[in-house]
Symmetry: D2
Amino acid sequence: MALTPQQQAEIDAQRSASATTRRPTVPALEEILYQALPVLDRGFVRVIDYMGDDAAVVQAARVSYGRGTKKVSEDRGLIHYLLRHRHSTPFEMCEIKFHVKLPIFVARQWIRHRTANVNEYSARYSVLDNEFYIPAPEQLAAQSVANRQGRGDVLEGAEAQRVLTLLREDAARSYAHYEEMLNEREDGSRPDEGRQGLARELARMNLSLNFYTQWYWKTDLHNLLHFLSLRADPHAQYEIRVYAERMLDVVAKWVPITHEAFVQHRLHAVTLSAAAMAAVKRMLAGETVTAENSGLGKREWAELQAELARKES
Amino acid sequence: MALTPQQQAEIDAQRSASATTRRPTVPALEEILYQALPVLDRGFVRVIDYMGDDAAVVQAARVSYGRGTKKVSEDRGLIHYLLRHRHSTPFEMCEIKFHVKLPIFVARQWIRHRTANVNEYSARYSVLDNEFYIPAPEQLAAQSVANRQGRGDVLEGAEAQRVLTLLREDAARSYAHYEEMLNEREDGSRPDEGRQGLARELARMNLSLNFYTQWYWKTDLHNLLHFLSLRADPHAQYEIRVYAERMLDVVAKWVPITHEAFVQHRLHAVTLSAAAMAAVKRMLAGETVTAENSGLGKREWAELQAELARKES
Amino acid sequence: MALTPQQQAEIDAQRSASATTRRPTVPALEEILYQALPVLDRGFVRVIDYMGDDAAVVQAARVSYGRGTKKVSEDRGLIHYLLRHRHSTPFEMCEIKFHVKLPIFVARQWIRHRTANVNEYSARYSVLDNEFYIPAPEQLAAQSVANRQGRGDVLEGAEAQRVLTLLREDAARSYAHYEEMLNEREDGSRPDEGRQGLARELARMNLSLNFYTQWYWKTDLHNLLHFLSLRADPHAQYEIRVYAERMLDVVAKWVPITHEAFVQHRLHAVTLSAAAMAAVKRMLAGETVTAENSGLGKREWAELQAELARKES
Amino acid sequence: MALTPQQQAEIDAQRSASATTRRPTVPALEEILYQALPVLDRGFVRVIDYMGDDAAVVQAARVSYGRGTKKVSEDRGLIHYLLRHRHSTPFEMCEIKFHVKLPIFVARQWIRHRTANVNEYSARYSVLDNEFYIPAPEQLAAQSVANRQGRGDVLEGAEAQRVLTLLREDAARSYAHYEEMLNEREDGSRPDEGRQGLARELARMNLSLNFYTQWYWKTDLHNLLHFLSLRADPHAQYEIRVYAERMLDVVAKWVPITHEAFVQHRLHAVTLSAAAMAAVKRMLAGETVTAENSGLGKREWAELQAELARKES
């Protein structure tokens, strides 16, 4: 993570101010408000604002005049029930806003989730910082042989070294040339007075996809959970998964009951097709079910076997 | 408006509680938080929660680390610029949640705005209250002759009396029969022990469209302004416009600079087609422009004339 | 269903016209294009237009230059894989447009699905027809005792008779009064020349929720499947479920492979929470798992038991 | 544009097939269906499928049983009226699907329009082609001095030459290193048998933002027009504007009346704020209105002056 002293000072200033409110407030989340939670080598996630709490989910589900909460056990039961039965609208009643710094290739995956509000730093309007992502050595994985969109073994020795060198040198060079083409200093003056400098909106195209960008990203709790169910999943690319995991920690502080229900009924839940469920019932009845007599395709059968063999997380 | 003592007590309880927060807070909005702002004969709008303020718009537009605000005049200029040039995403960074009680026929128009989060009181699950909308005498308008979806003169005398009687009697009767079909008391017991009672999800179909329903409705500031630009407009039906106007007052308390810019650049702005603008330029050049030589269709010409003749609001 | 001769003639005229196209075409769906498929006593579903087919899903998943399809077995495997792993975007590449006639209380549930395009017949602008829904005797169910939003036994004898009489008489009366308040004939003249007639946008509030409305409803295949997974479900209210079932038949004609995969991996699939899956594994390992030692809540345990006992559909 | 012979053959094969349909068909659009319409140096736009036509807008607005069209002049008047008064839902009833090849930095702007369906070529799953965008010399503009996100004069001489060299060399080198890190041939074999090759999802981060990607992009007519109103605007960056202009030509073929109304009432329309309209009325009344007495801010006054001085397009 790379905050300049001035950025840190602005964050500190915001953290030190406080006010009185009649709104629902979550002390555990207030504790980390505005703080930059580090992700990858130079990225972060910051919670900027939030609306609602576990009780707001209950309140909306009951369309109540007051807080609408009853006994803790009843509220907890209701939240579990809502999540298990995919009642999404009560969870839409909570909202959260993040400030995220992330590599552009991660941003390109992330933005595919369309139900959020986004304001991104504009490289058309401003000059991007010289910050790019280089994987840690233990993340430098080979292409998976089994899975076209997965990773295999970690690269080692000369190959790993060569990859790191290429990534670093190419990013450094592309930024140096970006600056040269722009021909502008922060104060607007020109290093080379004889040249006009290329338009920012054009010069940016020379930067590579591992450069960091940043944005404000705001979404409701239902859509956040949907995002996390896809991106905190082991099949997600590591570089976006670490953001999702950091945000999952935030959810645990913000709405602990919903977090618990989400992990139980969504993140670690298993969906069995009609045929897979039939196979399981036959197994429970004592039958020997094989790939051949299961009625499942080869791939789905393998997935079911993996699921049944999996130790609990 | 019709709050039961218990409902009022629940609201008062929420209003009396407060907490400390690091989030942006708007005292003028806190002042009215949770209060039922009356609309129509028995409806209301209540602000339940909010996220952000005018500065949050600026902060997102600048993707800043701290509050991101500069001099008040600069922030104001930026917000006006954003609204004038239809930059919508910074306004999406503020969010507000309402509890609304409204007639079903109004709810049916309202729900067409799809970019909000909604939790409605379920007449499948619960029994609806015996509350229906009856227009005030001055709202009992005849069908407009000029405009197929507008109102004309106010009805008077015997006709007005007859309409009010029909609306009242039919609503009262349909509720009485609803209760009779349900055959259930609040405690779950049956008035007529010999009957089972019709399912709630079926009995509700006997109620008329002027019965009140209620919902939690949450949206971001950009989409709220879009809703208000359509529903606070003079062409909107009176019964939804009064809700929009009440919410516009809320916007003025919440984000006063955005409210000012919205009224200036959206609500009271005028859009002229290419041909209408050409006609105006010819007028400015001293030409006599008529319906015939304007290049405008009959209807658009009349609209332009009305616009040019309109006194300022 | 109630089509006037003129409506039927308009439908026949559209069915008899044809043209040549380079677009993907589905003969089985062309066969029923524009036809009114009856639902409930006077409602219908009509397919008005469609875009894409099973191959379009494959084509988009492969971002191909041509049709992008390979061997039938490969395409089928891909579609099953996409559905099983919740890859939604390829299914968004097909689109369908319906004309639906449905009771207002059904429309109110339906419209909560926000990701569709809708044009509804306007009772602000036009006069609604005198058509309302009356349940068939076998659908006249009592309130469920076990489930607050379900149906129990079918009502019989005098109670059933009384309910039907009330529903019919109240609807007929509310329409008669609607007409009286409007005081207008189809040709615009007034039955009672001495009266102006109430504005349409007001008079409509006297109609009850079982009156029929109609709309054009257009959505993509992914969102249609999501709608069907909720509304063709046994927990959905009967009156909307029959629409969903009719549309599911349409999907089978339109995209048969997707339909098969949807039924297998979504509609008849079962999602087990982490705890429920753990319980199943213990059962498979030969353990006796009980409500008490299962780690599941009472309600979820009952749901799991029901699932394991369920005969295949 | 760069189609391989195989790609062109696939396109030709699709163009040569045809079928009979009962759906509305637009011959002028069929004419160009599947063809690659060139944009920039190697990009294109292809229409893959469409649903509806001008008459479908009318049909939905009237919620009709048949085609719903009347006299051509009435239909045209209705479409103009709908567009002028921002009735959006009838235009949502038409849908179009494109296959687009575009530089990544253009894709990043484009994807911000959230109301479309998208399937992008996956560089996680597949290897990207060696194709990148290099601006034509007349597009090599300096940074604008007046407008932070605009272009100024065209660069010339040595500076232009240097920029082109840097862009070309950096892109070529980053692709060469991408291939080296991947260490894979199309048939899956490895050029350097001693190395495993970096995972595709990691290697891609070395590519710069001017590399071409491609996607299927599908949207309804209303949202397409909204996209075009922003991106065919002179303030849009040239590299996305040329795509918008090409798509605007497609709209003219597809729905000529809607296209005409869109240009008239949206693309070339002018929105005047309440204060700007008041100033215009004072001018029409013969007053001398100046920047000082206009009541407008400096920037808005300049915008109004420019608008009044602008020759018609």
